[in-house]
């Protein structure tokens, strides 16, 4: 029912109806624009059929079937009698003449407006004269018609969309209105009507966002005014990456940001902003709509904008939480306009690598290799036919026909395991364990969003469902997300609103950063073992422990995955805030926000009885259930003053923030469950022995005051100052307050007269910043206190000699240091931003240096200090410096063809400058067999690999004799480099063998649009990082794990193959092969990955109109279509801890191919 003429009548009754009709109105307008209205009153045909109807209902009827608008005084109509009228294909005059004949009313038609009044009375003072119809055409800068542009009256929900020819027509536009023209990717235009009736608009592409307003610390800024190092991520290109996780999608999109992800569903990614700055927590602060959150839990689809604050100038205002950088995420919000429903979904299939990616020997090769290494250990009769373990525990290989493997003897009883007699048939070809545990996996993701709003109220509701299966069997992530945000304008000066997210995640918590994961087990298990025993139902495995029978080692990875498929990690996270913002005295804005985060987690781990496993088949099954909950609030209050004095612009913000968090957890443990069905597994169903339970709790507070001042003169000279004071409960009263100042300056050179006339230069700015940010996240809340604790496995002792109980004792658990305080990161940043060539090229380059004053580090204490955990103290320094560069080129070659490419590169040099204690280093990265492989030492990068440098393999006895003294040297083993010049190979000859830190990482995004097709691709690369490939230890050395052997060993050194680069097969561990870290394990981990190729098609508006849709895009994607790397393992992208990373212990690959089909529609 169109704009109603209720100026004189009772408004309220219409309002409700008006809202419902809005969408219809827009569509109607869209379809009517071509109609001419000059003779409307003659051409419009009306069909009226009313019996005893109120006049007002007749008018409504007419309005419903025509474009006429009635203006009247409702009071006039109230006293009139009902009318009866029956007319077909009638003109308006005829109808009104008849209807009003006996009413004493008269009418007047002006265009489509019908004024009804008492005969002889004055014409009502209506605004009709100032409301007009506006028509026009919207074009792009090349003059091409732009269909689909929204033309709206500012401050209302009224609007139309341009037709295929770019034309629009909007009726009843008040003279004082402003029309807003908007289209994604183009700069909004606002044009006052001001008496015009034809408004043609040429819309330019958004000028690469420099006018864009972005959210930075507690405030917003024009992108062009930013003086700190802020990476504004191109969210459009980020969204191209299909991923349930915002982190994965962010990889390669922002300079200065390194992201390492595992392929495991739901596994945490690691984000480093400008390198690793400490040995503990380097995760940046992630603020989602102002409240701390987890970027992994939010799908890229939900993100409206994302900024990364990298330097002190931008991040110091976050004080103690800012040192690792800050990622500010703003999610989508409702926009003024009719309700929009959008639906985004994709489904895909991920495919594991084909063939034998781990390059494992098959049965025949295995036996050949094994016999050459350990000739006295069996397989004298060739490949056995069977393996078995009897009830008494005797286990052996057997040939067919051996009575020991008579299938009649087979017995499996899940309860009385001691009587089992299990038999398995040897896999003569060899089990390809990789293919047994990796299977194609389906992933799907759906997001449904409804949003809309008026000038007064905006809302957005969204539902999301991600169902991701991992190619590793029984791995998955299911995530349900629910989001709602609303904002109301109360009067002109007050805005109140809320954001709320609820995320439910279910997974099975698979991680692959520890040894003995499923992937490494696929390398450690014998190819002779079948997956299942002869029953076909029960799993086979290493039936016997002693090596003599070579049935040792290797945990059946299929069994491990299948039998733990009921294990789960569930979490429910509720995050949100409510806020109010008041503008007053023209220049002030006060804002208060209370953010709340509630978390609930639940885990179940059932350790099944490993009936097939030699080493632990007697361990009773057991169940651990755990639950945890947490809450925290973040209460932020700010006051902002903003004013312009001539050429001076000033903005000052002051604020306070209180943050408190608490988490609690509880767990229970029982063992000996009769059956292992998930439905049966309640704790009380376990046996009475071995009950365990416990709980955990943590609590912390942070209170902060902060301020910020931004000043600019002539838009050319920019200055920003920030300061923050934080107080934290983690530190003692003497040292709990810290101050974090920063200053940043910018100079827009392009604003100067000497550059103004350079036509190709659109914008050029240089900037610098210096300041401090802090870090306290690695500090135990008990750090200030020396305390005692108690624990069964720590301080209990059977003092009474009972043999079946122990007495509680206490031990010094923590040494306190009440002087420990913040770690202060001192960050210097120089940047250059520019846009050139008619805004086609945008670039940003920065150099930064970050050093840490008072790195929080465990106090390095001699053992003579005792066993209490050492406190964190402020000693040590790690320095990072490097360059972040990003360049974007966009061009539109014709109406149909546009192209854009963005490249970014991040380099960093990382150096440990000082480490507490006199040693100047600490070793970490302990691996089975080889010991610590990482030494963090002054003068070297964090996480550097340390060990003996291999200079070759001893070719023969002569080479052995000629070499310096070396433990276990003999032909075929490694020759180590004698680096210290002193005779013999000793510990002093160890050297730094490589660094897992890349020299640089880079990302390239390319987008191409042709007509309705869009094409995009994302590349990501890392150069110069080394990997310690521990999987070689599993598969190359017969002295430790003999069950899975690499096929390359067929070419190992032997007296007849002395030129090999694979060491000789030995039966014992050797210093000269595998018992110490050496450079043979180190590999170049550089890689270049094509992460994505997408081809999309957007339906043209003409089709959309028929489907009554606003937008419909379909696309096909290939994820990880190819990669270039020299690394021999599955994937060189390897997660780890911050003090030891880049170590491959059987990595869940993050480079498996996936093919997706997706749809994105809105209406």
């Amino acid at each position: 029912m169109k704009m109603h003429q209720i100026i004189l009548g009772d408004k309220r009754s219409w309002i409700k109806k008006l809202r419902i009709m809005k969408l219809t109105v827009i569509l109607l307008f869209g379809s009517m624009v071509a109609m001419s209205a000059t003779t409307y009153s003659q051409t419009a045909k009306l069909n009226i059929s009313s019996k005893n109807a109120a006049l007002i209902d007749v008018f409504r009827n007419i309005e419903d079937q025509s474009e006429f608008y009635f203006y009247f005084n409702k009071e006039d109509l109230k006293t009139k009698e009902a009318v009866t009228v029956e007319m077909k294909d009638a003109q308006i005059n005829d109808v009104l003449d008849q209807v009003l004949a006996k009413t004493g009313l008269e009418y007047k038609i002006i265009d489509r407006y019908v004024v009804v009044k008492e005969k002889g009375s004055d014409e009502p003072v209506i605004t009709m004269q100032v409301a007009r119809k506006i028509t026009g055409k919207v074009t792009d800068t090349t003059g091409g018609a732009l269909p689909g542009v929204t033309v709206a009256i500012k401050g209302t929900t009224t609007g139309v969309i341009t037709d295929n020819n770019g034309n629009y027509s909007l009726s009843n536009v008040p003279d004082n209105a402003v029309l807003v023209f908007s289209f994604v990717g183009l700069k909004n235009q606002e044009i006052p009507v001001g008496g015009k009736s034809v408004i043609n608009v040429s819309m330019a592409e958004e000028a690469l966002g420099i006018e864009e307003v972005v959210v930075t610390g507690y405030s917003t800024q024009r992108k062009k005014d930013i003086t700190g190092a802020v990476a504004v991520v191109d969210v459009q290109s980020m969204k191209a990456m299909p991923s349930g996780s915002g982190v994965v999608a962010l990889q390669g999109q922002a300079s200065g940001v390194n992201i390492i992800s595992s392929g495991a569903p739901g596994a945490a990614s690691q984000i480093y902003i400008r390198g690793i700055g400490n040995f503990g927590n380097v995760a940046p602060l992630v603020l989602i709509d102002g409240v701390g959150g987890n970027l992994e839990d939010i799908s890229a689809n939900e993100i409206e904008s994302l900024q990364v604050l990298k330097d002190a100038g931008s991040a110091a205002i976050y004080g103690v939480r800012g040192s690792n950088g800050v990622i500010i995420v703003t999610t989508k919000k409702g926009k003024t306009g009719a309700p929009t429903v959008s639906y985004d979904a994709y489904a895909g299939l991920q495919l594991p690598f084909s063939g034998n990616p781990l390059n494992m020997a098959n049965t025949e090769e295995y036996i050949k290799l094994f016999k050459s290494a350990i000739p006295y250990h069996g397989f004298d009769n060739g490949i056995p036919d069977y393996m078995y373990r009897s009830g008494s525990g005797a286990a052996a290989w057997a040939m067919a026909g051996d009575p020991a493997v008579d299938p009649a003897k087979y017995k499996y009883d899940p309860i009385t395991l001691g009587t089992n007699y299990i038999i398995a048939k040897v896999n003569k070809q060899g089990t390809n364990w990789y293919q047994e545990i990796f299977k194609p996996a389906v992933t799907s993701n759906q997001d449904l969003t409804v949003s809309g709003g008026t000038e007064k109220a905006k809302y957005l509701l969204s539902l999301g469902y991600l169902d991701q299966k991992g190619t590793l069997i029984e791995t998955y992530l299911k995530r349900y997300s629910f989001k709602v945000n609303t904002e109301y304008n109360v009067g002109k000066h007050i805005r109140i609103g809320e954001n709320l997210y609820i995320i439910r995640k279910a997974g099975n918590g698979y991680t692959n950063t520890s040894e003995s994961n499923a992937v490494s087990n696929a390398m450690l298990i014998n190819p002779l073992f079948p997956v299942y025993d002869i029953s076909g139902k029960q799993f086979a495995g290493a039936y016997s422990y002693p090596i003599t029978t070579m049935l040792a080692y290797g945990s059946n990875p299929v069994a491990n995955q299948k039998l733990t498929n009921n294990n789960y990690d569930h979490s429910l996270q509720l995050t949100g805030n409510i806020y109010a913002e008041i503008s007053f005295l023209k220049h002030f804005v006060a804002r208060t926000s209370m953010g709340l985060s509630l978390g609930n987690s639940e885990g179940s781990g059932f350790a099944y009885n490993r009936y097939f496993d030699a080493q632990s088949f007697a361990v009773p099954n057991n169940l651990t259930l755990s639950m945890g909950n947490s809450w925290s609030y973040l209460f932020t209050n700010t006051l902002k003053y903003e004013n312009t004095f001539g050429d001076h612009k000033l903005s000052v913000l002051a604020g306070s923030e209180a943050n408190e968090g608490m988490s609690k957890s509880v767990y229970g443990y029982r063992q000996n469950f009769l059956v292992s069905d998930a439905d049966y597994l309640l704790l009380q169903n376990g046996s009475i022995d071995g009950i365990q339970n416990g709980s955990g709790k943590s609590h912390g507070t942070l209170f902060s005051l902060f301020g910020r001042a931004d000043y600019s003169y002539l838009d050319k000279y920019l200055l920003a100052l920030t300061i923050r004071r934080d107080g934290s409960s983690s530190f003692g009263p003497k040292s709990r307050y810290g101050y974090f100042p920063s200053v940043s300056v910018g100079w827009r050179l392009s604003g100067e007269s000497f550059l103004k006339n350079i036509s190709w230069l659109n914008d050029l700015k240089i900037r610098a910043s210096y300041g401090q940010a802090g870090n306290a996240s690695n500090v135990n809340p008990n750090n200030a206190y020396s305390v005692f604790g108690t624990g069964v496995g720590k301080s209990y002792y059977d003092i009474a000699g009972s043999n079946n109980s122990s007495t509680q004792g206490f031990y010094a658990s923590q040494l306190g240091n009440d002087l420990t305080s913040w770690e202060k990161d001192i960050i210097t940043n120089f940047g250059l931003d520019g846009t050139i060539l008619n805004n086609k090229i945008e670039f940003s380059a920065e150099y930064y240096k970050k050093s840490i004053e008072g790195l929080l580090f465990d106090q390095q204490l001699l053992a003579t200090a005792g066993g209490a955990a050492a406190p964190k103290v402020n000693i040590g320094d790690i320095q990072n410096n490097g360059l972040d560069i990003s360049v974007t080129y966009r061009d539109k070659f014709s109406k149909d063809l546009s192209f854009n490419i963005t490249a970014n590169i991040t380099s960093y040099n990382n150096k440990v400058v000082s480490i507490p204690g006199q040693a100047g280093y600490f070793d970490t990265g302990a691996l089975r067999g080889v010991g610590n492989v990482v030494r963090n030492q002054v003068g070297h990068p964090v996480g550097a690999f340390f060990g003996y440098k291999v200079i070759g393999i001893f070719k023969d006895a002569a080479a052995v004799a000629a070499a310096p003294a070396q433990l276990d040297k003999r032909p075929g083993v490694f020759q180590y480099d004698d680096t210290d010049g002193k005779p013999g190979i000793t510990a002093a000859d160890r050297v730094f063998m490589g660094s897992p830190n890349p020299d640089y990482t880079y990302g390239v995004n390319i987008g191409l649009n042709y007509k309705n097709f869009d094409f995009s691709t994302v590349f990501y690369g890392s150069q110069g990082n080394e990997i310690f490939n521990q999987t070689k230890f599993y598969t190359y050395f017969t002295s430790f794990f003999q069950c899975g052997l690499n096929r390359n060993l067929l070419n190992a050194w032997s007296p007849t193959n002395t030129g090999s680069d694979i060491p000789v097969l030995l039966s014992t561990a050797s210093f000269s092969e595998n018992t110490v870290p050496n450079s043979w394990f180190i590999e170049d981990g550089s890689f270049f990955k094509c992460r994505l190729i997408t081809l999309g098609y957007t339906l043209p508006p003409s089709v959309l109109k028929k489907l009554t849709l606003q937008k419909l895009r379909v696309y096909l994607q290939a994820v990880n279509p190819f990669q270039i790397t020299k690394y021999s393992g599955l994937d060189p992208e390897i997660p780890g801890s911050t003090s030891a990373f880049g170590i491959d212990v059987g990595n869940y690959p993050n480079n498996q191919r996936q093919f997706n089909a997706g749809i994105s529609l809105s209406f």
């Binding site: 000739p375 525990g393 005797a394 109360v490 000066h493 422990y545 002693p546 090596i547 003599t548 029978t549 109010a580 008041i582 208060t592 080493q615 361990v619 057991n622 209460f635 923030e657 209180a658 443990y669 071995g690 955990g696 709790k697 912390g700 934290s728 709990r736 809340p781 206190y785 020396s786 305390v787 005692f788 069964v792 002792y797 059977d798 003092i799 000699g801 043999n803 079946n804 109980s805 509680q808 004792g809 206490f810 031990y811 040494l815 204490l861 053992a863 003579t864 200090a865 005792g866 066993g867 040693a919 280093y921 070793d923 089975r928 067999g929 010991g931 510990a987 014992t1068 210093f1071 110490v1076």
Partner: protein, 602 residues
């Protein structure tokens, strides 16, 4: 409209004010969670609980930084005493740190040494914590006598850990309760023997004779350790009177007069271990908590044979030399001091599971089959030993480790993990040890050789008690049916009959030392005995290199055996102690110079 405007304005103002009010001092004051301060422990109950915590450090798996999973085996037990003295053979040849005990090529950088060092100082400081908390206890909380007992027990524990450090690492710093994190960089230049003596002496002077708990140190335990400390320094005349008084007056914590138990295997039977022979032992327990068995005897679990279903880890084996030493003279029933290696006992090395085998038929000391498991001899009620019970017999030889094992029937009373973790205590001193030490002191101080012979004979006569000997099974295929009365092997042992006096001190010394080897085999004594007897003479190097040569001689007979021992050598003047961990030396640097000085040769 105006109303709403003001309402919200007021609300915002209120909230903003609230946020500043919350910035009070107490907002940031959060007490540590889940722990207690010294103030809370400074009373009778508290200080006693800290004392229990100090005892708990005897279980070395309780200290920081030590895990069983990473291949480093740390403890009071077998590794650097029995393996480094070549009584035992290490079964897991792939673990380089542990291999170094067998190869004598341990490097200061090896983690295993740091683990031991850290463990023992952790124990030292746990004892000091008791003294520090005790000092904070108000005087009305404890009687002077109670306080003295606590102090003396803590001092005993401190001495015990220092003693172990001294024997293991040679030059070590002494840490008392005045040393904390602020002043812990203490030099190792001065011998700490006097300090250890003083601590044990304080304990011996002040501890009560009996104690409420068998796990606690009493006066006699302190005396026995003090004697051992003297002996280790060659101060035999100081040790002798202490040992004599232990023999005549010593009682256990429960007041039992020290005496040998009748049956040799009962010494290490966890159902009978609170007996008259126990002087001081590490108390292990099966405390029903979980498969993790945090207070169980892990150290010895790893070395047990892999009897189904998985009793042990299969990591412990015994050398031909030690096994041969158990041969006895068929006529005299005495050890064959110089000829025991002339003929090897028959064994099943290289034989298949079903190949026929006859055990050695010559006369042997009955203690052999409590110490070692060999083919054809019953292994408790588990059955006849077979090759599959060894982890890797072709490499580690035919003799598995038996001491600290238990009956299959007791399996329900131990905890099953990937090995069965038992509650068997580890005796640090038992009465037989005291008798043999007293005999040794008599010889070294020119005392009565016949008294010495009497002490040795007490030990031998107990071993000769036939009722405890290993017997054959009623039915070899059903061990649970029990045993016959027929000894499982040709056991023959006799006491000395005046040979000590007749042959003089040199003979007596040899006999006593040999008896220690047999009686205390695999009880982590041998390495430190050899260290004591060496006293700079080089005898330890001679003895251990001899055994290494002997072991290596089997390489030509049995292919693949003892791969670890290729090139292994004990260096005189170096390998008598282990290297001071490099990590600790590095941490002790002051202005570029280490306060901790490395031992000679490393």
């Amino acid at each position: 409209m105006k109303k709403i405007y003001f309402k919200i304005t007021y609300a915002v103002c209120l909230m903003t004010m609230l946020s500043f009010i919350s910035c009070t001092k107490s907002y940031l004051d959060i007490k540590p969670i889940g722990s207690v301060s010294v103030a809370i422990l400074a009373n009778k109950t508290g200080v006693n609980k800290v004392l229990i915590g100090a005892y708990a450090t005897l279980e070395t798996n309780h200290s920081n930084n030590v895990g069983y999973g990473d291949g480093y085996w740390v403890g009071y037990g077998p590794f650097y005493s029995d393996i480094a003295s070549h009584e035992a053979i290490w079964g897991f040849q792939y673990e380089p740190n542990t291999n170094s005990f067998e190869r004598h090529d341990g490097q200061p950088s090896y983690k295993v040494f740091a683990y031991h060092w850290v463990n023992f100082y952790y124990g030292v400081q746990a004892a000091n914590d008791v003294l520090r908390v005790l000092a904070a206890v108000p005087t009305d909380q404890l009687t002077a006598a109670e306080a003295l007992q606590i102090k003396a027990e803590a001092t005993f524990l401190r001495a015990l850990h220092h003693f172990r450090l001294k024997k293991t690492f040679g030059n070590v710093p002494y840490i008392d309760e005045t040393i904390t994190a602020n002043n812990c960089n203490v030099s190792n230049a001065t011998s700490i023997w006097p300090k250890i003596e003083a601590d044990f002496k304080f304990a011996a002077d002040n501890l009560d004779e009996t104690k409420a708990d068998v796990g606690r140190a009493n006066k006699w335990a302190a005396k026995a350790f003090l004697a051992e400390v003297y002996m280790q320094q060659g101060k035999y005349s100081d040790a002798l009177p202490l040992l004599t008084s232990c023999i005549t007056n010593g009682v256990t914590q429960k007041g039992l007069k020290y005496a040998l138990v009748a049956n040799y295997p009962d010494i290490l039977n966890f159902r009978k271990e609170a007996n008259s022979e126990q002087v001081f032992a590490i108390q292990f327990t099966f405390d029903g908590t979980s498969v993790a068995a945090p207070n169980g005897n892990w150290e010895y679990a790893v070395i047990q044979p892999v009897t189904p279903p998985n009793q042990g880890g299969g990591g412990g084996f015994c050398s031909f030399d030690m096994v041969n030493a158990f041969k006895t003279d068929a006529v005299t029933g005495l050890p064959m001091f110089d000829t025991y290696n002339d003929v090897n006992m028959t064994n099943d090395q290289g034989l298949g599971l079903n190949d026929p085998f006859t055990p050695y038929a010559g006369t042997v000391d009955p203690r052999l089959d409590f110490t070692v498991v060999r083919r054809g001899i019953p292994y408790f009620d588990w059955g006849l030993y077979n090759v599959n019970w060894a982890y890797d017999q072709p490499e580690t030889g035919p003799y598995s480790w038996k001491k600290f094992s238990f009956n299959k029937a007791d399996l329900a009373a131990v905890q099953a993990n990937w090995v069965a973790v038992s509650p068997i205590n580890v005796p640090l001193i038992r009465f037989a040890d005291i008798l043999l030490r007293a005999a040794e002191c008599l010889v070294e101080t020119g005392g009565s050789l016949s008294t010495a012979e009497g002490y040795v004979n007490q030990v031998r006569q107990r071993a000769a008690n036939q009722s405890a000997w290993v017997k054959t099974y009623v039915n070899n295929s059903s061990p649970a049916l029990g045993f016959t009365n027929t000894p499982a092997a040709n056991y023959f042992i006799s006491p000395y009959t005046g040979q000590f006096t007749a042959n003089g001190a040199t003979y007596a010394r040899k006999a006593i030392r040999f008896e220690r080897r047999l009686e205390l085999a695999l009880e982590s004594k041998r390495f430190f005995d050899l260290q004591r007897w060496d006293a700079g003479s080089g005898s330890m190097a001679t003895e251990l290199n001899r055994i290494l040569d002997h072991s290596r001689s089997f390489m030509t007979i049995y292919k693949g055996i003892y791969p670890n021992m290729v090139g292994a050598k004990f260096t005189k003047g170096k390998n008598e102690v282990f290297p001071i961990p490099q990590s600790q030396i590095d941490l002790s640097m002051v202005e570029g110079k280490p306060v901790l000085v490395q031992n000679p040769g490393y």
